[in-house]
């Protein structure tokens, strides 16, 4: 174990099958100290199975789980020193809030007095200091969430696992809880694995994201890497909106199946290409542009939807491709359905999808 690259969690070649269903096929994952890593995937992608194997609630068919360098593959959940927040919080309804937070300390045979002190401090850190004597059912969803969080961090776990903890909260509360959890996590330096199917949440909170699908990690990287350089259609469509073109590459050019020609920033041999809707510009003026600097097309507006901060247009290129465009909503630049416009997109924004496997 080297200090410079110390992994708190090291998952190697994990496999798990249920009957004939392959839930996980060879998962490798390393999480560094203090890192916030998100497992992003749709339901049934295997992310929950992976989390349960890490937590010690399931055992893998093969592979290894190490925590701080020690092999924990067959260790019980209790031995692993992992704090976990469940989707439904799993607070103990017959215990008060304080007793809930004291529970993990009691299990570690810490004296009642010391445990109560530490539990109060943990409750203070989630701004629930005054609610210790209440029962969980007397708290709101957001408050219950904080209790679950306090209970998961009070024993200073080596790893914090969050299983879709915000899915039951309404949008506004969810956003403030996201910020709070993120702040708490970075101020305590907690190594955290977060599970979600919400790509926005993943982009906002993570240091790194592992996109999971079909029981395998499709791509792992920083939010920006995942967003701007997805390696496959499945990742591109799962994270953010996308326009996917199929066609043939030729040096620094890409010929879509429809015949539309795009200049690229670099030569490629990929036969799929991604353009994010916000990378495209629509304008009424027809400005002659250098094809090396911009790809220019004539496009007709099919329909539009106003989403507040921006407007989403569906347009059809002269070559026939339908493209979705996301434009900053300026009141003086609203285009009407039927209008013919100039569509420009920079070569650098035409991103080849390197992974050839259609998922």
């Amino acid at each position: 174990m080297t200090n410079e690259n110390q992994a708190v969690l090291d998952v190697q070649k994990i496999r798990k099958t249920y009957g004939r269903v392959e839930a996980l096929r060879e998962i490798d994952l390393r999480v560094a100290a203090g890192e916030f890593l998100t497992l992003l995937g749709a339901s049934g992608s295997g992310k929950t199975t992976l989390l349960r194997i890490i937590a010690g609630f399931e055992t893998p068919d093969s592979g290894r789980v190490s925590i701080r360098g020690a092999d924990m593959t067959w260790a019980s959940a209790a031995e692993r020193q992992i704090g976990m927040v469940f989707q439904n919080y799993a607070l103990f309804p017959h215990l008060t809030v304080l007793e809930n937070v004291m529970f993990p300390l009691e299990m570690r045979r810490i004296t009642r007095r010391a445990a109560a002190d530490r539990a109060r401090a943990a409750l203070d850190s989630v701004h629930l200091g005054v609610f210790g004597d209440r029962y969980p059912r007397q708290l709101s969803g957001g408050q219950q969430q904080r209790v679950a969080l306090a209970r998961a961090i009070v024993f200073e776990p080596s790893l914090l696992l969050l299983d879709e903890p915000f899915s039951a909260l309404d949008r506004r509360l969810r956003e403030s809880m996201q910020q709070e959890v993120k702040q708490l996590q970075s101020s305590l330096g907690l190594t955290t694995i977060f599970i979600t199917h919400d790509q926005e949440e993943a982009l906002v909170m993570s240091d790194r994201i592992a996109v999971i699908g079909g029981g395998a990690i499709r791509q792992i990287g920083t939010p920006a890497e995942i967003y701007y350089h997805p390696n496959s259609i499945s990742v591109a469509t799962f994270v953010g909106e996308s326009n996917i073109f199929e066609g043939a590459p030729k040096g620094r050019s890409f010929y879509a199946a429809s015949g539309a020609h795009f200049s690229l920033a670099a030569p490629t041999d990929c036969n799929r290409m991604l353009i994010r809707p916000e990378a495209i510009t629509l304008s009424r003026a027809s400005v002659p542009a250098d094809p090396r600097e911009a790809n220019v097309f004539a496009a007709q507006v099919l329909d539009r939807s106003f989403v507040g901060g921006f407007t989403v247009y569906r347009v059809r290129l002269a070559q026939g491709d339908e493209v979705s465009v996301r434009a900053i909503a300026r009141e003086d630049a609203i285009f009407q359905p039927g209008e013919t416009l100039q569509l420009t997109v920079a070569p650098a924004d035409c991103r080849p999808l390197t992974d050839r496997s259609a998922a």
Partner: protein, 272 residues
């Protein structure tokens, strides 16, 4: 228009009244035998008759004065408590097995656990008799308790599987994640939350055993449980002592149920 409205109202009222009458008739049909036993138990005469010609408490006195009645009662309590403890302990493990872990065999196991309720009690008694006579358990109070425990098992399993199915298993998982062993998690987290069901199951088990006659007749030998004593009494003497005993049994059940309801209400107040 107006006429039609009043007609609808009239019909609805008739329906309501009919519904009430029907409910009361059913209620009385079920309750009358229980109510009739009360005056009979205070009869002054020497035979079971209704209505009694005179009133006294002599049959209650008879019950408390005769050792055979008191012994039978103590034996029944003893058998009932032991059968309850065994059936709740085994039934709880059964219910745990059925509701989790045993995905494949759970349903089959559940059917097996319910079998004692389906097999006719005379068949069950005869087979128990032939088995226990070989084991030297006939004429032994523990033999009756054991046989009763098996008879009580279906009730315990039904109540506890229902309760465990409703219980959020994530809580037990969470407790283990927080450092508890499976056993500690069950003891500290699961059991306190299904306590009302455990109490109901224990109550049902106890009543089942306390009230059971057929198995007791086969297995008790020279002495007898309270139901057997009552049966012997009605065969040999037909005096109103059994009415007095019945009234006391009814009172006991009402009392236990009241206590249970209180306990459960206190629990519900805290949990939901």
């Amino acid at each position: 228009m107006l006429e039609r409205r009043s007609r609808t109202r009239f019909l609805r009222r008739i329906g309501n009244v009919a519904h009430h009458i029907f409910s009361w008739v059913t209620f009385l049909f079920l309750l009358t035998p229980l109510l009739i036993v009360i005056p009979i138990s205070f009869s002054g005469g020497s035979y079971l008759s209704f209505p009694p010609e005179s009133y006294s408490t002599r049959w209650y006195e008879t019950y408390f004065a005769q050792d055979s009645w008191i012994d039978a009662t103590i034996l029944s309590l003893q058998v009932g408590v032991v059968a309850t403890v065994i059936s709740v302990a085994v039934g709880f493990l059964f219910a745990l097995g059925i509701t989790r872990g045993l995905r494949k065999w759970g349903p089959a196991l559940e059917k097996v656990a319910l079998a004692p309720m389906i097999v006719p009690s005379i068949v069950y008694s005869v087979s128990m008799y032939s088995l226990f006579s070989r084991l030297g358990l006939v004429g032994n109070w523990f033999g009756i308790a054991l046989a009763h425990a098996i008879l009580c098992l279906p009730f315990v399993v039904i109540v506890l599987t229902a309760s465990l199915r409703e219980y959020d298993i994530d809580q037990e998982t969470a407790a283990m994640g927080l450092g508890a062993s499976r056993l500690t998690a069950i003891r500290r987290i699961t059991i306190p939350q299904i306590r009302p069901s455990l109490l109901s199951a224990a109550f049902l088990a106890f009543i089942t055993s306390f009230d059971e006659l057929v198995v007791a007749m086969f297995l008790s030998g020279t002495f007898g449980t309270l139901p057997k004593k009552m049966f012997d009494n009605i065969r040999l003497q037909i005096d109103p002592t059994i009415a007095a005993v019945s009234v006391m049994e009814i009172l006991m059940v009402i009392l236990v149920m009241a206590v249970l309801m209180r306990l459960n209400r206190a629990n519900v107040g805290r949990l939901s």
